[in-house]
Amino acid sequence: MTIKGKAYIAGIYEHPTRHAPDKSTAQLHAEVAKGAIEDAGLTKADIDGYFCAGDAPGGLWPMVDYLGLKVRHMDSTDTGGCSYLIHVGHAAEAIAAGKCSIALITLAGKPRTGPMPPRAAGAEADFEAAYGATTHNAYGMCAMRHMHDYGTTSEQLAWIKVAASHHAQYNPHAMLKEVVTVEDVLNSPMISDPLHRMDCCVVTDGGGALIVTTPEIAKSLKKPLVRLIGHGEAMKGPRGGKDLDLTYSAGVWSGPRAFEEAGVTPKDIKYASIYDSFTITVLMQLEDLGFCKKGEGGKFVADGNLISGVGKLPFNTDGGGLCSNHPVNRGGMTKIIEAVRQLRGEAHPKVQVANCDLAVAHGTGGLLGVRHAASTCILERA
């Protein structure tokens, strides 16, 4: 049993806003849903599956009702920023099993307008809550250990931001459009050692949505065909404190599962959407997915190797979370959207990868240095 080739991404929409104090969160979900449905050339009545995560106000009950959907399959798996990559895999499973035929996945929220509600506490709360783990310092601890074990440098991490900024200059909706240098990154204020402000992603309001459907329905629509050929998901935590190693992520498990199902290797990939909550997130994911050996990510990302038209692995050609958009502090949705744009040939001409027929969209969710999930989608132009 495989989902290879059994589901197509037929609709994509990224909300152009980066700041939306004048809209409700539910309204943003409706706007991105409308955008993706129209992109696919479908109507709301066609939707028979719905997927949302922790950003959807109230979860499935109010969202399905608010949007006016009538669905026969639903899923509210929440694994933070990679939820939507997992939803694509789960939608493909549901479609392959005949549980739905046109699935809608939405993400939206407004962390730039106001603080997000706190996450419910887990069993670890009494033993961790006092220590002030945040995204910045949890990823900082990963970077610190990666530098210690492998000699990774701040200059190498900075190259990831530099590459993202080269792409963002062509994205009219990007929050940060200015091209930056390695020196700019190193000279930006230290937030949580060893991560500087420019090692961190933007905080934006907004959202995005996807339509996942059957091969037959996708072929009846007008958009270039993009199909899912491999998917993986995994989770990692300190698991009782045994053999703690913060230099790798759950991507070491989700990646190989996806590549094996797709029957391709990292060498075959023409474009990579890699979750970039921080520069270290990208570096570790590239290693974990097998684009280079563990510990060699620093060398791999240096000297513009991630810049489209310059390096060997064009990544996040929309400017990514580091420069363009990180809606609701959850970057997985925009990772899939830009990968689909590349496979459709709809990326900005300055960053469009020539003959882009195979792409990976990969993300993590939660805190890389504490507990997190990872999900990998291999997408192919059909």
Partner: protein, 129 residues
């Protein structure tokens, strides 16, 4: 002047109550599974490795080394050093390194447990040994 950070009170529960009772006596407890022999932290009643329910409380030396850390410089309550430390007995855990010159911290440095009061049971932190 940064506002002093108020520590949360451990809520406790039937599974972890012995840890917090011992904490009041200045003892740092971990759990060890007598079926597979593995120690773990934070404490569970069922071993997270072999899933045996034969887990026992054991007093830790409170001696540890810094596995990794990060200085959080942008905080409304002032800078702090978050870290993972690895206990002499094996398990690693999240903590803060306190009562020290944070700019001199190093991976591999020896640290020891130190207790900080809350409105309930005290909380474990670590400081250079």
């Amino acid at each position: 002047m940064a506002e002093a950070k108020k520590l949360p009170v451990p809520q406790g529960n039937p599974e972890t109550a012995p840890f917090w009772e011992a904490a009041k006596q200045g003892k740092f407890l971990i759990k060890r599974c007598t079926a597979c022999g593995e120690p773990h932290f934070f404490p569970r009643s069922i071993c997270p490795f072999c899933f045996s329910d034969k887990t026992e409380w054991e007093e830790s030396s409170g001696e540890a080394t810094i596995y990794t850390f990060s200085l959080m410089r942008k905080s409304p309550t002032g800078p702090y050093a978050i870290a993972y430390v690895t206990l002499k007995e094996g398990p690693s855990l999240q903590t803060n390194i306190v009562d020290c010159d944070m700019d001199k911290l190093k991976i591999g440095q020896k640290v020891k447990v130190v207790w900080k009061p809350t409105d309930g049971a005290p909380l474990p932190f670590f400081t250079p040994a």
